[in-house]
Amino acid sequence: MNKIKIQGVLFLIVLIVAFFVYVFQGNQLRPTREFYVNDYAQALSPAIENVIVEKGVLLYDLYQDVDEVGGAQIVFLTLDKATYGNSSSTELTEIFNKWKIGKNDMGLLYVIFFEEVEYDGYTLMEYDSIQWIIGYQMKIYLSASKIGQIVDATIQVEDSLNMGIAKLLHETLREITTNAYGYEEFRDFDEEAYAYYFDNYTGSSTDAVEMSVFYYLFSPYSSFTDKLFAVIPFLLIMFMGGLFVSFKGGGGSSGGSGSFRRRR
């Protein structure tokens, strides 16, 4: 009896703490557990999400210990134009700084806006515009105008969003690794390999991890103790944001450098 009471009190405390943390956090955008891809517009395919995360992790792991430069992080954020279309560059810079992208200010944030469109009775998220925010040190190696040139040659001209983003990421990586880390042997973009990969990718979306916890929590198969131990990390992930993330920011900040493009 006492055991159940203690469990009940613990459960209640966690709920109350989570509620207050959630209330005080307001509506600020938080990075997802994957950190490098934050698909709030729900517009990206699992295949391209996987590419972004894999490349992002690799870049950071390879170069985070390089003296004086630090590890670069390229983070993608997608937003619905209807809700966030009027976001100023100052607001996006605040997101960059809250997420602490890049070690030693070697961060880059791509914000892609999508618009909801009706097509043949279906609702689709269509690419509308892209904005980029550059970290204090990153802008030494990659200027706003250089990124503009990369954007113009990739996502702006590609019919396929997957391919456009993959090329954008590839060319951005080439610039960063060459200019910041002196790596000269970056291979050319293999369009055929990427096309094959996108067509045959069978992995699930990153949201599935959270859904499985959610499902387990309310399933009749879990005991009360299981529910209690399942609900704590779930609530922490949902409301406290960032304590249990797989990847996180390197501590970087930005002074608002960057530019934008609207879809042609």
Binding site: S88, S89, S143, G148, G255, G256, G258, S259
Partner: protein, 189 residues
């Protein structure tokens, strides 16, 4: 015996009051110094952003072939803005710096308008046009962020100076009251 204890108690109370006041004063003074320093740091960030913006525009303008001959009036506006900025920087006057910021912004909007008007359809095709626009937009973004963080620092400072007990120490140590936000500088349109 009772009188002696009473005197000791009074003495103890006085010591406690002096201690509490002293600690409060030290903490309050240090907090005001921190906030004052933050405002100065943010002001310096605006100054750097202004310098960067102007240097960038100046350098890029001359690098765009064919633009110079069409944009002499804008060059003049930029030169005037540069002089106003250098004067303001030398004097350390924040109001003058804000006015120089305004002059630069006006020159910039003139430049952007010039590059977008229908009379100059070939300008957008010039090599370097997009580079120029990206760098200008980037500089504007940096400046907007610097202004925003400066104003946040000013708000925090003004609030701290008005609050009790800091209001006593602010007057005692001559901390300025109601420092002016960047977008509220008198004389700036």
């Amino acid at each position: 015996m009772f009188q002696k204890n009473g005197k000791m108690l009074v003495g103890l109370v006085i010591v406690v009051i002096v201690l509490v006041f002293g600690v409060t004063m030290i903490v309050g003074y240090n907090s005001l110094v921190d906030k004052d320093e933050t405002v100065d740091t943010k002001a310096a960030a605006i100054s750097i952003a202004l310098t960067e913006r102007f240097d960038k525009i100046n350098g890029l303008l001359t690098s765009i072939e064919g633009l110079e001959e069409h944009a002499l009036n804008i060059y003049t506006a930029i030169t005037n803005a540069r002089q106003a900025f250098l004067d303001a920087q030398a004097s350390g006057d924040m109001e003058a710096l804000a006015e120089a910021d305004q002059l630069q912004s006006i020159a910039l909007s003139d430049l952007r308008a010039f590059m977008l008007v229908e009379d100059n359809p070939n300008i957008s095709a010039l090599p370097g046009y997009m580079v120029l626009m990206d760098e200008i937009i980037s500089s504007e973004g940096e400046l907007a962020y610097a202004r925003s963080t400066y104003n946040n620092a000013i708000d925090a400072y003004n609030k701290a100076v008005r609050r009790f007990p800091n209001v006593m120490f602010a007057a005692m140590f001559g901390f300025e009251r109601d420092r002016v936000r960047w977008d509220e500088v008198p004389g700036v349109e």
